[in-house]
C-alpha cells in the first residue's frame, strides 16, 4: 500500500509542475495585469507605474517571473501580495480556519442529513416521501445560492431576527463559540443544502442499484432483517460513487464558496481568491491554484484508497 502511495505521489509531481506552468502562462496571457487598476488613475503618474513595474518584477518576461516564483516556492517562500504587500502564507493563514469552519459545517449538514435521507427514500421508492423528496431536492439543487442566501437572510435575520444577517461574530459582543455557531447557521445551511440535495440523490441511486444485486437478495433469503440488509450489505457498496464525489470536492473545501461567503460576509478563502483574480494578484492566485491542484490530487488518492476499504476486491500493490 505504501509503495502504491509513494508511486502516486511521484506521478503527481510532474503533473503539478505542469499545472503551475500552464496556469502561470494563462494568467499572464489574460488582458490587463496587476497595474491595470492604477493605469488611468489621475493620481498615479506614469513614473509611479514604471517604478511599481520594476519593484514588482513585472518588467520581466513571464517565464523569468515564473522561475523566480518557483525557486522561491521550493525554498518555502510563497511570495507577497502585489496589493497588500503581505506574505501570501499569512493571507491564507488568516482565512483558512474560517473557510474550514464554514465548509466543514456545511459538509456535516450535507453528510448527516443527505446520506440517511438518500437511503430512506431509496428504500421507499415511489412512495409519497420519495416523490416529495425528489421535488424538494431538485428545487434545492436548482436554487441559486445567492438568491437562497438573500431569501434566508431577509426572512430569518431581518423579518424574524432569529439569526444575524452577516459576519462571523457580532460587533457588539466578544467572540465566543455560541456567537460563532449562531452566525454559522444561515451560511452553512445555504452551502450545505446544495450538497445535501446532490449527495442524497447519488445515495438514492446507489442504494437502488445495489439492492437489486444478487448478494442483497441472498442476504434477504438468509432471513436477515431489512435494516441489516441495507446498512450492512447495501450501504457500503452504494457509498463508492459518493466517495469519488467527496474526493473531487476536497479542493472546494480549501477554495471556499465565493457566493455564500460574499452574501454572508464570511471572511474565507473564496473572497480572497476572487479578489486576487480580479486584481491579477499573481502570487495569491498561484498559491490558490497550486493548493487546489494538490488537494485535487490528494482527494483522488484518498478516494482510491477508500475504495479498497469499502470494496475488498480492490487491491493496490
Amino acid at each position: 500500500m505504501s509503495r502504491y502511495i509513494l508511486q502516486r505521489v511521484l506521478e503527481a509531481l510532474p503533473l503539478l509542475l505542469l499545472i503551475t506552468i500552464v496556469t502561470y502562462f494563462l494568467m499572464n496571457l489574460a488582458p490587463g495585469g496587476p497595474l491595470a487598476v492604477y493605469l488611468h488613475n489621475p493620481k498615479v503618474t506614469p513614473a509611479t507605474l514604471h517604478r511599481l513595474s520594476i519593484q514588482l518584477g513585472l518588467n520581466q518576461p513571464w517565464y523569468a517571473r515564473y522561475f523566480s516564483w518557483l525557486w522561491a516556492l521550493l525554498h518555502g517562500n510563497w511570495g507577497y501580495s502585489y496589493f497588500s504587500g503581505q506574505s501570501v502564507i499569512s493571507l491564507i493563514g488568516q482565512r483558512l480556519p474560517n473557510t474550514l469552519i464554514l465548509m466543514g459545517s456545511s459538509f456535516l449538514i450535507a453528510l448527516v442529513i443527505g446520506i440517511p435521507l438518500g437511503v430512506y427514500v431509496a428504500t421507499h421508492q415511489y412512495s409519497f416521501q420519495d416523490h416529495a423528496f425528489s421535488f424538494l431536492s431538485f428545487f434545492a439543487w436548482a436554487m441559486p445560492s445567492f438568491f437562497f442566501g438573500l431569501l434566508l437572510q431577509t426572512l430569518f435575520a431581518v423579518k424574524l431576527g432569529w439569526f444575524p444577517v452577516s459576519g462571523m461574530y457580532s460587533v457588539y459582543a466578544p467572540p465566543s463559540l455560541i456567537e460563532l455557531l449562531w452566525h454559522l447557521v444561515l451560511p452553512a445551511t445555504v452551502l450545505g443544502l446544495g450538497s445535501l440535495a446532490g449527495w442524497s440523490r447519488y445515495m438514492r441511486s446507489g442504494i437502488l442499484e445495489v439492492i437489486r444485486q444478487d448478494y442483497v437478495r441472498t442476504a434477504r433469503a438468509k432471513g436477515l432483517n431489512e435494516r441489516t440488509v441495507i446498512w450492512k450489505h447495501a450501504f457500503k457498496n452504494a457509498l463508492l460513487p459518493i466517495v469519488t464525489i467527496l474526493g473531487l470536492d476536497l479542493p472546494g473545501f480549501f477554495g471556499g464558496a465565493v457566493i455564500t461567503e460574499e452574501i454572508f460576509a464570511w471572511p474565507g478563502m473564496g473572497r480572497l481568491f476572487l479578489s486576487a483574480l480580479n486584481n491579477r494578484d499573481y502570487p495569491v492566485e498561484m498559491a490558490g491554484l497550486l493548493i487546489s491542484a494538490v488537494l485535487l490530487v490528494v482527494g483522488n488518492l484518498l478516494a482510491d484508497l477508500a475504495y479498497s476499504f469499502l470494496d475488498p476486491r480492490i487491491q493496490y500493490r
Binding site: G32, H40, P42, K43, Q94, S166, A265
Partner: protein, 535 residues
Amino acid sequence: MANKLGSITAAGILSLSLMGYGALASAHVVPTAVTPSGTLVEAISQNPDNLTPGMGSLAADDGPSSLMNVSLVRLTTADQFVGELATNWTIADHGLKYTFNLNPAAKWSDGQPLTSADVVYSWHYYTNPKIQLTYVTGWSDVASVVANGPHQVIFTLSHAYAPFMSSVALASIVPEHVFSKWTVSQLNHGYYDAHSVVAGPYVLQSWVPDQQLTYVPNPNWWGPPVHIKKIVFSVIPNQDTQFNDLLAGDLTMASVPPQDLSQMSQLKGKDRVIEPLSATYDQITPIEVGFLKDVRVRQALNLATPKQQIVKYIMKGQAEVAFGDQVPGGYWYDPHLHAPSFNLTQAAKILKEDGFTKGKGGWLYKDGKELAVPIWALSNDPTDDNIEQVVSAEWEKIGVYAPVHTAGAALLFGAKGPQFNGKMEALIFSWGQGVFPDDTIDFNSAYAVTSPTSPGENVERYDNPLMNKLTVEGTTFTSNLKRRQVYWDIQKLEIQTVPIIFLFWDKSDFAYSVHLKGYDQTTFATNPVWDWSLQ
C-alpha cells in the same frame, strides 16, 4: 482603464478637496475632558488592502486611514481648506513657497511629539523610489522641505503647481522616529498594519481581515475631543447584505444600493438618508477618428442623446444631467452654463448641413462612407447596458448606424478592444472628477491614449489647442479666482466642442442612524469625526 470607477473612488471622498489655498486655519483647540460612548458601525465593501500611508489602492482604505492619520490641512464640507496639523500657512514667491506653522500640541499615539522633522521625513518617504507607493501626487514637484524650528516647515516647489494644497498638503504625515527604524521591506510588506503609530483621533485596536477593523480613541490625541468610544468598519462585500444589515439595525451607516431604493421606506424612523452627488459621472467617449473628429458630428450625437430620459427612467431620478466635468454646485462648476437639450431634429439638421445624406439601409453616408458608430459598454454593468440600448435607438433615428456591444473590462479597455482598432467607436463608462481639479490628463492632447500603457486619460484623443492652453493654466495659475475662470472656460469649451458626451452625475444614497448626531457628508468631504456623537 479597467477599474476606472474603483480607482477614482479610491482617490477617496475623505482625501478629495476642491478649494485652493488661502483659507486660514483655525487656531489649535485644547481638548477638554469628554467620555466617549457608543459603538459606530460603518459598512465598507472591501477589505482595506494596505493602511500604510500612500500604499493603499482601494476606496475601502480611505475611511480607516482618515481616523488614524493627519495631514497639514483638511477639507471641510464647505470645500474650504482649514488647518489640521498646521495652525496657519502662507504662500509666497508666486506659488513657489509654502510655509506652514504646526500645532505645538501635536503628538503621535506613542506619546512622542509630532514636529517639523516628521514633515521633512514625510517628503523623503513619499519620494523614496524603493517604497511601493501608489496614490502619491505632487511630491515630485517639491524641490525642498526645510524645518525652521520644531514647529515650522517650508516647502519650496520646483515650479508653480496649483494642486499643491489638494495633493501634498492633504497627504498623511508619517512618524520619523518609527518609519526610519523600519526596513524598506517591512514598509512594503504591510508591517505598518500591525504596528501603526498614528497622530489621528483614533488608533487601530484590531483588524480581522475580511471581517472588521476596530478603532478606539487615541489616548494621545491632541485635537478636539472625540465622542464615540468605538468605531468599527464592517467588511460586507454585497450591497444587498449591507442593506439587510441596515434594516436589522446592525449598522450605523452604509450606502444604499440603487436596487434597494424602493425599499427605503423601511428605514424610516431608524435612519436618515442623504443623497450627495458623487464625484462620478457617466459619459460616452467617442473615439475621435474618421467622422468623429468632426466637431459637428459630435455635436449632433450629443443632441441626439436623451439625457433627461436616461436620468428619469433608467436612473430613476438618482442622478443629475451632466454638461461638463465639474460637479454641479461645487466651487469649480460654472452655474451659468446652458447646455443644449435633446433635439433629434436639430441633430439631423446639423448632419445634413455637414454633408451627410441617406444611403444604403437608410443610414447616413458622406463621401461614400457610412456613419457607423458602434456603442460599447461593460458587460457587468446593467445600467450602462440599458443606456447603450436607449442611445443606440435615438442615434439610429437620425441615420447613425449604432449597433450595441458589451464586453468585459479587460477587452473593452485592452489592446484588442474598441479603443485601439482604428475605427469610429463610442464607449460608455464612468469616470470621476476630483481633488485637483485637473483636466490635463483628460483633454490635453499630450495625454491622448494610443495604447493600453499610454499615460493619461484622453481616450477620445481630443485635440484642441485652446484646451491644451487652458489645462496647463489650470494647474499653474496661483490665483484661485483665475483658476476658476479657467475651469469655467473649459466647461464652455466642453459644451461647444463635445470632447465626450457627458450623461449624468450619480447621486450616492447614504443612510445613517438617527442616533448618530453631527454627521454630514458632501461630494468631496465628510465632517470631522470629533463632530460625531451617538445618542
